[in-house]
């Protein structure tokens, strides 16, 4: 416990200044996105470093053109999260606790899925979706987007559920609870944090999805914001103000989650990848 000398403290604040500079460089593109969105008149001209006045017309145009796609994204992502958790939470518990023959193979398979490129999945899926009538449907896209989160969630939740003390589960069983009741009443509440982390990531994966939206939709019926923005720049080359405004809106959920759920995000990045 040495006393902090002025030089040591100055050096520490020096690191903070360096850190802030690094952050500025890393976040500059996002600042520029916001800045461009606030200068809708700049069109194809150069954009000023800071907006001269608060012109929100780019945002109002983005909302009227792309607001529906934001709602679509939200609906699809929430659906995907529901499917993802409903499928992966019980599986994670089963794989962590039941000692079923083949568990190891299944866990192995779950890890392996990370190597299957999405475009390969889309290639095959599109043809099956045509046969099943799932192209251009909300449910079809939700299912495909759920596939982005399921392996991650199984691995993450399983590694947590393994650490639940066996006595807790046995106590519930002695009280007469069956496996389903034990799972719902004891295991799920205890796994709250890993459930939230999984849900968050399933949401972010689905919200960011572009490839399934692009390949599994042939009409405008189900168009998430990522696809909406992509097609918008194709059609309105000069209208960068509202493109950027729509981009800002599409980045809002990520920003909100980062602020509100920081600890879950950090847990997910390290937990999902190193396990």
């Amino acid at each position: 416990m040495a006393s902090h000398t002025p030089t040591a403290s100055r050096r520490r604040w020096g690191s903070t200044v360096a850190g802030v500079l690094i952050l500025c460089v890393m976040l500059f593109p996002l600042y520029w996105m916001l800045n461009t969105a606030l200068q809708p008149d700049s069109g194809l001209l150069q954009v000023d470093p800071v907006p001269g006045s608060l012109d929100l017309s780019g945002f109002s145009k983005a909302i009227s053109d792309q607001g529906g796609h934001l709602v679509t994204s939200l609906a699809v992502s929430l659906g995907a999260v529901a499917i993802c958790l409903a499928i992966s939470a019980p599986a994670a518990y089963g794989l962590a606790r039941f000692g079923l023959r083949g568990s190891r193979t299944i866990v192995f398979g779950t890890l392996i899925t990370q190597m299957v490129p999405g475009i390969v999945i889309a290639n095959a899926l599109y043809n099956s979706y045509v046969d099943l009538g799932l192209v251009n449907s909300y449910f079809g896209l939700m299912l495909a987007d759920a596939s982005l989160g399921i392996p991650f969630s199984i691995v993450l939740m399983r590694s947590f559920m393994v650490s639940i003390p066996g006595e807790v589960i046995e106590a519930a069983q002695i009280d007469g609870a069956g496996p389903v009741r034990t799972f719902v009443r004891v295991v799920l509440p205890m796994s709250r944090n890993s459930l939230i982390t999984s849900g968050l990531f399933a949401f972010l994966f689905s919200w960011s999805d572009f490839m399934f939206a692009l390949t599994l939709n042939t009409t405008d019926d189900v168009k998430p914001i990522t696809l909406g923005i992509y097609q918008y720049i194709g059609a309105h080359v000069g209208d960068w103000g509202s493109v950027m405004a729509a981009s800002v809106l599409s980045a809002v959920p990520a920003a909100i989650l980062l602020v509100l759920a920081q600890k879950y995000i950090a847990a997910g990045i390290t937990g999902g990848s190193v396990k």
Binding site: G14, T16, G19, I22, L23, M26, P29, L30, M33, T36, Q46, I87, S88, P90, A91, G94, A96, F98, G99, L100, S103, R104, I106, V107, G109, L111, T113, M115, P117, I119, V120, I121, N123, A124, N127, S128, I150, P151, V180, W207, S208, D209, F210, M211, L214, T215, I225, T226, I229, Y230, I233, M244, S250, A254, L258, I265, A266, T270, S273, V274
Partner: protein
Amino acid sequence: MTTPMPTSTVSAQTPAKASTSPAAPDPGRIARRRRLTQWGFVAPAVVFMLLFFGYPLVRNVVMSFQDYTPKTFFTGEAPFNGADNWSNVFQDALFGKALWHTLVFTAGSLLGQFCIGLALAVFFSRRFPLNGVLRSLILLPWLVPMVVSGIVWRRILDQDTGVLNSFLDTLGIGGHTPWLTSPEMALLSVILVNIWIGIPFNMVILYGGLQEIPKELHEAAALDGASAWRTFRSVTLPMLKPVVTVVLVLGFMSTVKILDLILALTDGGPADATQTLGTLTYQNSFVQLDFGAGAVVGNVLILISAVFAVFYLRANRTEGK
């Protein structure tokens, strides 16, 4: 952390429990019912993964031997055509180009992301005010949808009105660089943008790895008179190796198949200068509607990933020890 550990402890308990309930009328039937319920927990996930990961793998192999045309979706007919798709794709000069671009893109992206990510992880391992806040805000680029990042960069890199060129212009260097519009520059630009996207992920994982290294090791090295660089090379890096492997392999698998970013930045152009295996699969299947040719390129992509999956599983095993 390991996969085998939990299964072995539980399986040791479960049968013992089943056999020590003599009051049950038919232990065999109860045990069977119990197993069935237990499989009920796991089965939906297994079925889902077989449908969404297993089936596409098989289907792509089959499709690569079928003749798909735009008409296929009206008639439903895609006759088998032997190895035609394969020879067509391999003879097309674009395939070789795309393969090369994929390798350059992946290697360049990983190198940049990893080196900068590691440097930042080391930097943030110091203790200083606001460290935690800065470290979490730096994640933001990674959380924004990739296609959106691509579009933002497309504006920044615009040759005539982009902010990067106007900045370079004020410095008096290369103010008119055609970042995305010249075939010579485009691949490099796409790599640079992807490095920017990947830095946060690399940083966070490597930072986590650095924190796991016992502080005493560094202190011991310092007492022995080792310089900071020497300590980093002989103590930190070897200890960090498992995490490094995981970060590189995961990075490889997500980079090699990239599609969103390239479509948003260049659509594979100009003059196919940024066409990769991912974009080529997309073009063949969803633009030309030749799903057979798309499947061929997709299979090559899977093959490349499979080789690295072996590395990944090895890394996972060592990680679990």
